[in-house]
Every structure is written in structure tokens, then in C-alpha cells.
């Protein structure tokens, strides 16, 4: 199984202990004119799981605070790709923030499935900030019971 790209989910890092956050807080406080959004600083990558069931694979992706239509899901050549964008509320201006740990912007993740799936029967649902993609296995990929005949 091939996996493309891995980054630990920033939600599971204690933000107060992250040096980058301390530096950013310090810079915000003393040098508010300093450009804050350096390249790569505000990108995020949601955590994902792959589960194997008898008839299907499920790919779950933790991405809180999106809308259903913010996801772009595609399946091509044995790989599932999920991209999307988390949009920030533009009503809130920079200076009103006390804490700003949430990350916004685009993400893209891709995962190869270990067996053939029925590409036309892939479904996706989004609930409680978790995207679940269900990929039914092709008939030849399902487990089969083989009877042993006794002679």
C-alpha cells in the first residue's frame, strides 16, 4: 500500500509547547507589522485512516469546520484523492484575536487502495467534522470461503 504525504495533525500537538507558536505569539505581540503568513506556515493536512471491511474499504478524514461542498473527491488508477479548502470567517479582523491556532486554506491528501474497488459505487458522507468515503470492493477482491471436500 502506497501512501503519499504525511504530516502529523496539528490538532494533536500541544499548541502551547510548540516553539513556532511561541515565536508567532511573541512576534504578534511586539511586532504586529511583521508579516505573519510565511510560506508553509499556514498549511494544514488532515489526519486520515483506512479501514478494511469484508465488502468495502472506508477512508476517514478528520477535517472539522468545512461545508459539504468544500470537498473534491476523486478516484483514479487505484488511488483516492481528497482535496478541499477550509475558509476563514472574513468578518473577523486580525487585531481581534487572542489566540489563533486554527489553520485554514487548501489541503490535498491521496491514498492508494490495496485492492480493486467499484469506482462507480464510491460514496462519501460528512458528519461531525469527519469525512467518510466508502469504497465497495470489486467482486474478485472480496474474501471467499473455499470448501474443503473430504474424500
Amino acid at each position: 500500500m502506497t501512501l503519499i504525504r504525511f504530516k502529523p495533525d496539528p490538532a494533536h500537538v500541544t499548541p502551547a509547547a510548540a516553539p513556532a507558536d511561541l515565536l508567532r505569539d511573541f512576534m504578534n505581540l511586539h511586532f504586529p507589522f511583521f508579516p505573519q503568513e510565511r510560506a508553509g506556515m499556514n498549511t494544514w493536512s488532515p489526519a486520515l485512516d483506512v479501514h478494511d471491511h469484508k465488502d468495502a474499504f472506508t477512508v476517514t478524514l478528520e477535517a472539522a469546520g468545512l461545508k459539504k461542498d468544500d470537498f473534491e473527491i476523486s478516484y483514479h488508477d487505484g488511488a483516492l484523492s481528497v482535496a478541499g479548502e477550509r475558509k476563514e470567517d472574513t468578518d473577523v479582523t486580525e487585531r481581534n484575536y487572542f489566540r489563533r491556532e486554527r489553520l485554514f486554506g487548501r489541503f490535498a491528501r491521496s491514498v492508494s487502495l490495496p485492492a480493486e474497488v467499484k469506482a462507480d459505487q464510491i460514496t462519501a458522507s460528512y458528519k461531525d467534522g469527519v469525512l467518510t468515503v466508502t469504497l465497495p470492493k470489486a467482486e474478485e477482491a472480496k474474501p471467499k470461503n473455499i470448501e474443503v471436500s473430504v474424500k
Binding site: P15, D49, H51, D52, F57, E62, G65, L66, Y97, R99
Partner: protein, 126 residues
């Protein structure tokens, strides 16, 4: 301003005795004229799994993860731990009127300022 300074050693935490490990949700906190808004990212937590308490000038919230579908895990990055975070509240917050809602894994807390703590425009008389 000392609003919402982080507080990890809380006396009110029942978790302290059992040493449960929690994940720290990423938050955004911002202020407007009428109060504060706290957004906490807790994907995988349903509305029923959220507990918010305001006690002794402390705001605490926990989120219990709903179990994942059965099946063999082929690859896993998603943490199974519940979420918890505690903040000290500014005295101007009206603790009686704190509201909370869940929006696709994001807990949104509204902490209104008490009426008598809001800045008030005072007319100058002659």
C-alpha cells in the same frame, strides 16, 4: 488583559485522579464589543459528546470521540483520545449566558460580556 490564559492544573478536573490523556484541540479566540468567541476544533465529536462547564472563573470543555466503524485498520493517523481544554475567564464574562453549539466538529462558544462591564459612552454635560 488576562483573558483566557491557559490553565492546565485545574482543581475541578475529575480527570486528575484517573490520569486520562486528552488531546488539545486547536482554538481560535477573538473579541468584539459584546463578548468573546471561542472556536475549538474537535472532529469526530458529536453534539451529545460535548461537555462545557463554567465554574470558579474557569471555562472547561471536553469532547468524547464517537467510535469509528468496525473493521481492520490498514493505516491510521487519527487519534482516539478525547479532547479537553481549560481556560481562565476574564471577570467581565457573563457566565450565566455562555452559549455553545457544534458545527461540523467545531465547538463554537459565545461568552458575552456582562452589561455593566461593557465600555460605555458618557455624554459630556456643559
Amino acid at each position: 488583559m488576562n483573558t483566557q490564559t491557559e490553565n492546565t492544573t485545574t482543581s475541578a478536573a475529575p480527570a486528575a485522579a484517573t490520569r486520562i490523556r486528552y488531546a488539545t484541540p486547536a482554538v481560535a479566540i477573538y473579541e468584539d464589543a459584546d463578548g468573546y468567541t471561542v472556536e475549538a476544533e474537535m472532529p469526530g465529536v458529536a453534539k451529545d459528546g460535548v461537555q462545557v462547564t463554567v465554574e470558579n472563573g474557569e471555562l472547561a470543555f471536553t469532547g468524547a470521540k464517537t467510535p469509528r466503524p468496525e473493521g481492520t485498520c490498514l493505516y491510521g493517523e487519527v487519534a482516539r483520545t478525547d479532547y479537553r481544554r481549560v481556560f481562565d475567564l476574564d471577570p467581565s464574562v457573563d457566565a450565566e449566558h455562555v452559549t455553545a453549539r457544534m458545527d461540523q466538529g467545531v465547538l463554537v462558544l459565545r461568552l458575552p460580556k456582562a452589561q455593566d462591564k461593557k465600555p460605555r459612552r458618557i455624554a459630556v454635560s456643559d
